[in-house]
């Protein structure tokens, strides 16, 4: 008999539905709707229903703020976003201001995929909670994996010229230097985001540098065009990526990079039990792949926290979320109190032909990502410089 039982919690989803990341956003909003049913009502200890209200921010920070205003007008107190760390930063800033200027009307921002470490370090906020693992954590896992790969000798960094890409390059160099001093960075490039039609010149450059490994945060066509060009030019290096799974990439990838493309993520297609059922159900329902696992984190965390706080009031819920520990699809997770960065298990997966054991094939490409390594939260955990300002 909880106070808030049966109450409906509205979550404003502020992400792109049009433009470059439209497809990614579409997939994610579907994920949110799907799990609102699964984890709403009886699905969570608090017994609250969840309702997702999508707003198209066209990947623009400014538009995100307008959307936020609209959401707040509709009395929505919970906001989620993930595509584009720029928009994320803007939202954190706006939420801070709003909560400061409108006491009693506080809003919580639950970040599902924006992975810029700054968001939980220099820019960290009491009202922001990140359920994805940030670039540095993923890089930790990636490098730990590469540590034992002796054939990784010469690394080339090729990234999109925007926050996410910059971060990947930055942390690759930092962490690698620590774990594999012998590895040598033979080159680095930043290319305009989704502007490059022809990656051949970059590939030629990589070949010339004699690199055997490429680390990239690229996604979508930027990733597939890159691999396509690599194949054509006969570049046989390994690719370590962040977003091989996001909508559109598998199709574009196809047979290219069979066995040579690795992805780091906090989930993968072949998680056992409940996850498999959901994966297939989602696939059937939307004819798409479920890859934004953080959605499950978000609902579960909210349920737990609301139960604990016996209320849906963001202020109380925020307090309850801090340091919250619970069990999720990738094992025990913790919302670290010091910076509101979720601590969780990470996986390394490899792109290869789907087989009996790993049968699920994203976008029916006949290929899949198979887990090749798994790292406990502590492995990938990175320190934070966050000085959290908590409302007194």
């Amino acid at each position: 008999a909880l106070a808030q039982k049966g109450e409906t919690v509205k979550i404003a989803w502020i992400d792109p539905l049009t433009g470059l990341m439209g497809p990614v956003g579409q997939n994610q909003v579907n994920s949110f709707r799907f799990f609102a049913e699964k984890l709403g009502g009886a699905g969570n200890p608090a017994g609250v229903k969840f309702e997702v209200v999508p707003f198209d921010n066209k990947l623009s920070p400014a538009e995100s703020l307008t959307a936020l205003k609209a959401a707040i007008d509709q009395g929505i107190r919970y906001v989620t976003q993930g595509n584009g760390s720029g928009a994320a930063a803007a939202l954190i800033d706006a939420v801070n201001k709003h909560n400061e200027r409108n006491p009693g009307k506080e809003v919580l921002y639950l970040n599902h995929s924006a992975v810029d470490p700054d968001l939980t370090n220099s820019k960290c906020s009491y009202w922001h909670f990140r359920m994805d693992a940030d670039t540095s954590m993923k890089m930790e896992a990636l490098t730990t994996f590469m540590k034992d790969q002796k054939d990784v000798q010469k690394v080339y960094l090729l990234n999109q010229n925007y926050a996410h890409g910059h971060q990947v390059a930055k942390y690759a160099k930092e962490i690698m230097a620590r774990k594999r001093p012998d590895v040598q960075f033979v080159g680095e490039d930043l290319h305009p985001l989704a502007q490059v039609r022809d990656f051949a010149p970059y590939i030629a450059k990589i070949k010339a540098s004699g690199a055997d490994t490429v680390i990239t945060g690229n996604w979508g066509s930027d990733l597939s065009l890159m691999l396509k060009a690599a194949n054509e030019a006969g570049l046989t290096a390994k690719f370590f990526t962040y977003y091989t799974g996001v909508t559109g990439t598998p199709t574009a990838l196809g047979s290219q990079g069979d066995g040579r493309v690795f992805q780091v993520s906090y989930n993968h297609y072949h998680l056992p039990g409940q996850m498999e059922k959901w994966r297939d159900e989602f696939q059937k329902k939307f004819d798409a792949d479920f890859y934004t696992g953080s959605v499950i984190h978000i609902y579960t965390a909210l349920g737990e926290a609301m139960a604990k706080a016996k209320s849906t009031d963001p202020v109380k819920v925020a307090a309850a979320l801090e340091g919250l520990k619970f069990k999720s699809f990738n094992g025990d997770v913790e919302m670290r109190k010091s910076d509101h960065q979720m601590q969780q298990t990470l996986f390394i997966t490899r792109w290869q032909k789907a087989d009996a054991k790993y049968s699920y094939s994203p976008e029916k490409t006949g290929y899949t990502l198979v887990p090749v390594a798994q790292y406990e939260p502590y492995v990938a955990s990175t320190p934070t410089s966050c000085q959290m300002k908590r409302p007194s």
């Binding site: 049009t18 066209k58 400014a62 609209a70 707040i72």
Partner: protein, 431 residues
């Protein structure tokens, strides 16, 4: 340029007082009609857009300069404004927040003086292409110079700084709205005044026949250049206000899309009349902010609206309005209103039908999984059942059919009235 002389409008010109008074009143009362925070931001954005679109029309409508890079000046103005605001916040600069937009204006002016010098050397297509190039340059620069442009995340700030002047902190949106409203009114007045000055008129002359201008003592290049700088100044003010409004400035503000939007909507509003861009600006905010909240098909609608507006109302909304005003002035509007009623009625029907189909198509593609039902204008459409489709098609066809009929009738009546008006005018001239 704000010499007081521009403010003594002809005292005896009642009409003008009414119009400007009305404009001020609208700006004043708008927030009491639309009170929600969202509405307020929309209104604020409209105010900003009005300034920028009017400034753009100085080039397009008055100077015949087709610029593909106007966002550059609004945007750079915005950046300078936000950096200034941060300075103020850091206490390294003592400037009341209400004056920050002026810094943006000066910024716009400065960059217009710099980049405009090369752009305005030429006119016509050459000018258009240069502005496009300059625009792309600045845009790509914005990604290469995160120090100034803040990279993808942009530069954010806090407008609640310094000690409040008579209780105004600009924290609450409504306070900022009124700041924007004041700027909007003053800038509009100034830009209108500009059209009444020697330079303003010569600008029209340059648009119509640059060659002859050279033979009555003026340097066309100089005229274009000065006009370009003035436009840059107002654009910058607009940008500065935008910066205050969002408290963040990201690279998109200098992007080609923005520039494109200014061009498109100024034209849609009507570049041939001074007030056209005002309508355009309002439409722009509605289309880009509101429409995308209402439907996923907004881009399609936008595209279609442009196709048809350009085809059937190349003068933009403003010219439509003015044509009807003319009819009214000759006291013949009463005769047309039945035709109009029919036009709107049938047109609405057609649109409802078309809209329903578009929405259903999109629903099937994007949200089929959420079940077949789609909320549309209060009704619930089942995108699976044949009946709904037949229904929609039926509504559309009937609508279109009737519309075509009424349109013909309307066209006839319209033609007649115009004819009579022509005669009337000829008669009056004859006297």
């Amino acid at each position: 340029m704000s010499t007081p002389s521009e403010f003594h409008f002809k005292p005896w010109n009642v009409g003008r007082w009414v119009i400007w008074g009305g404009f001020a009143l609208v700006l004043l009362l708008a927030p009491t009609l639309w009170t929600s925070g969202f509405a307020l931001t929309m209104l604020s954005q409209m105010g900003v857009a009005i300034i920028i679109c009017l400034s753009y029309n100085m080039l397009l409508g008055q100077g015949g300069m087709l610029s593909f890079g106007h966002a550059v000046y609004a945007g750079l103005g915005a950046y300078l404004a936000i950096h200034t605001l941060n300075r103020v916040g850091a206490g390294t600069l003592g400037l009341p927040v209400s004056l920050v937009p002026l810094v943006g204006g000066l910024g716009g002016l400065a960059f217009a003086a710099l980049l405009g010098y090369v752009s305005t050397k030429k006119a016509g297509t050459t000018f258009a292409m240069i502005t496009m190039g300059v625009g792309e340059l600045v845009w790509s620069m914005s990604l290469m110079l995160p120090e100034f442009f803040g990279g993808e995340g942009g530069v954010s700030s806090n407008r609640v700084v310094g000690q409040p002047v008579l209780g105004i902190t600009f924290g609450p949106q409504v306070q900022l709205y009124y700041l924007i409203a004041v700027y909007c009114f003053v800038c509009t007045a100034l830009m209108y005044a500009f059209t009444r000055t020697p330079l303003g008129r010569m600008l029209n002359a340059v648009r119509d026949n640059p060659e002859r201008v050279e033979f009555i003592g003026y340097s066309t290049q100089r005229i274009r250049y000065i006009a370009f700088m003035i436009a840059g100044f107002f654009a910058g003010i607009g940008g500065g206000l935008g910066a205050l409004n969002f408290e963040i400035v990201t690279a998109e503000v200098v992007g080609a899309h923005r520039s494109g939007a200014y061009l498109l909507f100024v034209f849609l509003g009507g570049a041939t009349f001074f007030f056209g861009p005002i309508l355009g600006a309002i439409l722009m905010v509605i289309a880009l902010v509101l429409l995308s909240e209402l439907t996923t098909a907004w881009l399609l609608y936008l595209g279609l609206v442009f196709l048809f507006m350009v085809m059937y109302a190349p003068g933009g909304l403003a010219s439509l309005i003015m044509m009807n005003l003319r009819v009214a002035a000759f006291g013949k509007l009463r005769r047309l209103w039945t035709a109009y009623l029919g036009l709107f009625g049938t047109g609405a029907a057609a649109l409802v039908g078309i809209g329903a189909m578009v929405e259903m198509v999109y629903h099937r593609q994007l949200n089929a999984a959420l079940g077949p039902d789609l909320r549309y204008l209060g009704a619930t459409l089942n995108t699976e059942s044949v009946n709904t489709w037949v229904g929609a098609v039926f509504v559309m066809l009937v609508g279109v059919g009737l519309f075509e009929l009424t349109r013909r009738e309307f066209a006839r009546q319209w033609g007649d009235t115009q004819g009579e008006i022509e005669k009337e005018i000829k008669r009056r001239e004859a006297l």
